[in-house]
Symmetry: C2
Amino acid sequence: MRYSKQREAILRVVNASNVHPTAEMVYREVKKEIPNISLGTVYRNLNALADASQIKRISIPKDVDHFDHRHVEHYHFCCTKCHQLYDLPGSTIHQLIHRLEQEESVRITDYEVLFYGICQKCQKGKEENYGIKRK
Amino acid sequence: MRYSKQREAILRVVNASNVHPTAEMVYREVKKEIPNISLGTVYRNLNALADASQIKRISIPKDVDHFDHRHVEHYHFCCTKCHQLYDLPGSTIHQLIHRLEQEESVRITDYEVLFYGICQKCQKGKEENYGIKRK
DNA sequence: TAATTAGTAGTAATCATTACTACTTATTAT
DNA sequence: ATAATAAGTAGTAATGATTACTACTAATTA
C-alpha cells in the first residue's frame, strides 16, 4: 500500500474521532482539509485500512457501517433509544476465545462484541437522537 | 400482530434452518410452499419477527443480513475463508453483562458476539465457498 | 355478516456502497 | 535525477439489498 495524503487524512480523522464515524462523517471531516476529495476515495480507503487491520469496521443491524480506531480492547454498546454508539471497556473476552478455540477447534482471529440497551443519558430521560435515522 | 400464513411459514423456515438464512434464502424456501409470496413480504415479516424478539437479525460487515432463531444462547463465528456462519456454544457473557451494567451504568437488553477466524473445515483445507460472494 | 384494518403481491424507489474511466502521483529502475 | 509503471484519485455511473407504495385480500371485531 503506497502513501497518499488522502488515506493519511482519513486515518487521522478516524483516529481523532470518538464517535465511531460513518464513511459519510469521515468524508465531511476530511473535506475540510482536502475539499475535492471523493466519497468513493473515503470508502475505498476505509476498506483498505480495515483490511490492513489499522481500523475496524462495525456492522450494526439497520444502520450504516461505522469505523473505529481500535487502539485499546473494548466492546461496543448501541443505545436502542438514541442510537448512539458507545465504547464499553473490557478484556474478559480473551479467556472465552481461548476456551472456544480449544473446545470448538476453530482459530479465532478477531471478534466483535456488541451490546444493546439503554445508555446512561437515556435512562435519565435526557436522550437526544443525534439526527441518526433508523431505516 | 395478526396471524398470516406467510409469517407463519417464514418463522417456520427460520426455525427449521441451521444455516442462519438470509432473506433471499428464506424467500426461496418459503416459495416452495407459497409460490407467489413476495420478497418484500419476507423482508417485512423478518423485520417484524426480529422487532418482536422472535428471531434475531445478525449484521456482518460486507455481507447481507442473516437471521437466526435464537432458542439457546450462543455466539456466532464467521469463517474468513469460506464465509460460512456457524454457532459457537456459550453463556459466559452473562457475568460480563452484569458487571458492565454495574460499572458503566447502562441497561443491557441484548447482545451479539461475533468471532472471526478459520473454521475447522478450512483448517483442514477442505473449504468450500458455498457460493457466498464477498462484495 | 359487514366493517375495519393489518397483511400481501407486485413493482418502483431508495440509498449505501462499489465499479468504472480518464487522469494524477508515488515509487522504481535506468 | 528522470522516465517508466502501476497504485491512487475524482467524478460519475452502476449495483444491489432493502424499503416504500398501491391496489387488493384476508383476519379480526362489533
